[in-house]
């Protein structure tokens, strides 16, 4: 991982920690989980759009972000442990799904030419997640990710075979 990537990888987590760790957001009432996770999702998708992460690097970014997001959902939004991790898993799968779509787009276009479709995809994934997919079963996200994984495998096999 380059230095820029490493610095930016910890950025969402640092921003979340600034929101969570001090007590200035504390109040007895619960905050809505949807705006919290939507903002984090948008930040991660933007990060994926700006930097060409590999799958492993993306996994590292997600691992770095999840603890701070969990504390925000559990403590500030009043979700149970199970609810919080389920919501995080859905968000992580949405990010990973976007990553795979980006790879597929880049397979058929040059990196520069793929810029606009990738940006539109990022916005579409975040919007779909927020508006339509928020209440869907986790299996829906899993099946989408498996489908995208198959596309990735197909893309790589195409590259390998010239």
């Amino acid at each position: 991982m380059s230095r820029t990537k490493r610095i930016l990888a910890i950025l969402p987590a640092v921003v979340l920690l600034i929101f969570v760790a001090p007590n200035w957001w504390s109040s007895p009432r619960d905050y809505g989980p949807t705006p919290v996770i939507l903002l984090v999702l948008l930040a991660l998708l933007l990060l994926c759009y700006l930097l060409p992460f590999t799958a492993l690097e993306l996994l590292a970014v997600l691992i770095l972000t999840i603890p701070a997001l969990f504390v925000a959902l559990y403590s500030l939004c009043g979700l149970t442990v199970g609810e919080a991790y389920l919501l995080i898993l859905r968000g992580a799968l949405a990010v990973f799904f976007y990553f795979l779509i980006s790879l597929v787009i880049e397979t058929y276009r040059s990196r520069a030419a793929a810029s606009i479709p990738r940006l539109l995809t990022a916005l579409a994934v975040a919007l779909l997640w927020a508006v339509f997919l928020l209440g869907q079963n986790i299996l829906f996200f899993l099946s989408l990710s498996i489908l995208a994984g198959l596309l990735l495998w197909y893309r790589r096999s195409l590259k390998k075979n010239g």
């Binding site: 969570v20 007590n23 691992i63 559990y74 500030l76 009043g78």
Partner: protein, 428 residues
């Protein structure tokens, strides 16, 4: 075969025409847990009982729900509503029957006093009063006509307990000597009055009730105002100048306790765990350039965080402030913190400093044997509390309209964090 089919159809039809009915234990009142009984529920099939409140502007608010394959034949339903609710609708629906609706208006009059005139004595209708045939329906501010048998003298202590509970007693002078009645230790504005009449014949009772109507009504409304007039940002202000604050500072006690004790949403446990995760994680990110080398220790750290988070102490908190209504009259109140449950909820939490989950405050001269006024705040991630917690108070006011649900393990109140309440409790 046709005969068997006919019998089966008849059996199915008999359940379809079964008619439910609803019984009220007493009239529907705002600011208390009301009880209804729905009878003749279908014995099989998924049955659903819902109670919805409707406001003046037509907004529908769910107040109660019970849904089960095996609901009891007679179902106890509980509902809470405030003075914004104008109508209450009970709906009974099942797979076998059409939905049945019952509609009730909540035209509660806090001035109206209930009178139990005694067994076998009938009073004519009186404006401002309603009569009841059982003394169990009497509440604070109501009137009990106590008639002793000819050779039986009413015990003064029993009458004293009724008066302390806010129930006025009217009885014959010959049945109870004034010297028998124990005098209250300190003046209590919520203590009811004892009226001794020469005779308990209906004419004398009617004359007395008519004469005392205004004082009885204002006394009853005093109880109502203690809860109905409560403000969630302070101690309830009294109306009609019956209970007056001399010192405005006491109105901020509940709010200041909240500000001081309830605010730390992120517990010290999570602050430590976050530090324990992010400090090594940042070092790892700085040290390792290869993603594969970084990922493995990062995954181990993450697994540790997930494991700890599953066993972390629950950040639930509750705060309780108890007063006697007499405290609303005077000047400054000195509040002390009483014994609290300082408990760790998991083995890991036990290793850390104890987290205070329940906080209770009372004035130094708090007397549990008198009427008690309780301010409470409950914040929990479960967002539900057993209903039994609120069935004991004489009246209760929530900062929201919580929904009561019947579950397999009992009735629960479901709420949105935080649940604040004021409740009024009878003397022990």
């Amino acid at each position: 075969m046709k005969a068997v089919l006919a019998v089966l159809l008849l059996l199915v039809g008999s359940t379809a025409v079964e008619s439910q009915s609803v019984f009220l234990n007493s009239e529907l009142q705002p600011f208390r847990i009301n009880k209804m009984m729905v009878t003749d529920l279908p014995e099989f099939g998924n049955t659903r009982v819902t109670i919805t409140g409707r406001t003046l502007y037509g907004e529908e608010v769910p107040l109660f729900s019970a849904e089960d394959i095996n609901l009891p034949h007679v179902l106890d339903c509980f509902l809470y509503f405030d003075d914004s609710i104008q109508n209450v609708q009970v709906e009974v629906a099942s797979a076998a029957t059409d939905p049945v609706l019952f509609d009730y208006a909540t035209n509660f009059n806090p001035y109206r006093v209930t009178v139990f005139p005694g067994v076998g004595r009938i009073l004519p209708p009186l404006p401002g009063y309603r009569t009841t045939t059982t003394a169990e329906h009497l509440r604070a501010g109501d009137i009990l006509v106590l008639q002793a048998a000819p050779d039986f003298v009413i015990h003064g202590r029993d009458v004293g307990e009724l008066l302390e509970r806010g129930i006025h007693v009217i009885t014959a002078r010959a049945s109870l000597g004034v010297d028998q009645l124990p005098a209250p230790e300190k003046p209590d504005p919520l203590r009811a009055s004892l009226l001794l009449l020469d005779s308990l014949d209906p004419a004398s009772l009617v004359e007395t009730l008519q004469r005392q109507r205004e004082s009885f009504a204002s006394f009853k409304k005093r109880y109502y105002d203690l809860i109905a007039g409560s403000d969630f940002y302070g101690i309830p202000a009294a109306r009609n100048q019956t209970l007056r604050f001399e010192d405005a500072r006491i109105e901020d006690i509940a709010a200041s306790l909240e500000r001081r004790y309830i605010l730390d949403r992120v517990t010290p446990f999570y602050r430590l765990v976050l530090l324990g995760f992010y400090l090594p994680a940042l070092i790892l990110v700085a040290l390792f350039k290869r993603s594969t080398a970084l990922l493995l220790p990062l995954a181990v750290l993450f697994a540790g965080f997930v494991g700890l988070s599953c066993f972390a102490p629950i950040p639930d908190k509750s705060l309780q402030l108890q007063l006697n209504p007499t405290h609303l009259e005077g000047g400054r109140i000195e509040i002390v913190r009483k014994a609290t449950d300082e408990k760790g909820t998991t083995p890991i939490a036990g290793l850390l400093p104890p987290s205070i989950v329940e906080l209770r405050f009372v004035p130094t001269d708090f007397d549990p044997a008198m009427w008690r006024l309780t301010y409470g705040l409950i914040r929990s991630n479960a967002k539900q509390v057993p209903l039994t917690f609120f069935t004991d108070p004489s009246s209760v006011k929530f900062n929201q309209l919580p929904k009561i649900e019947r579950r397999a393990d009992g009735y629960v109140v479901r709420y949105v964090n935080p649940l604040r309440y004021w409740s009024l409790h009878e003397p022990d």
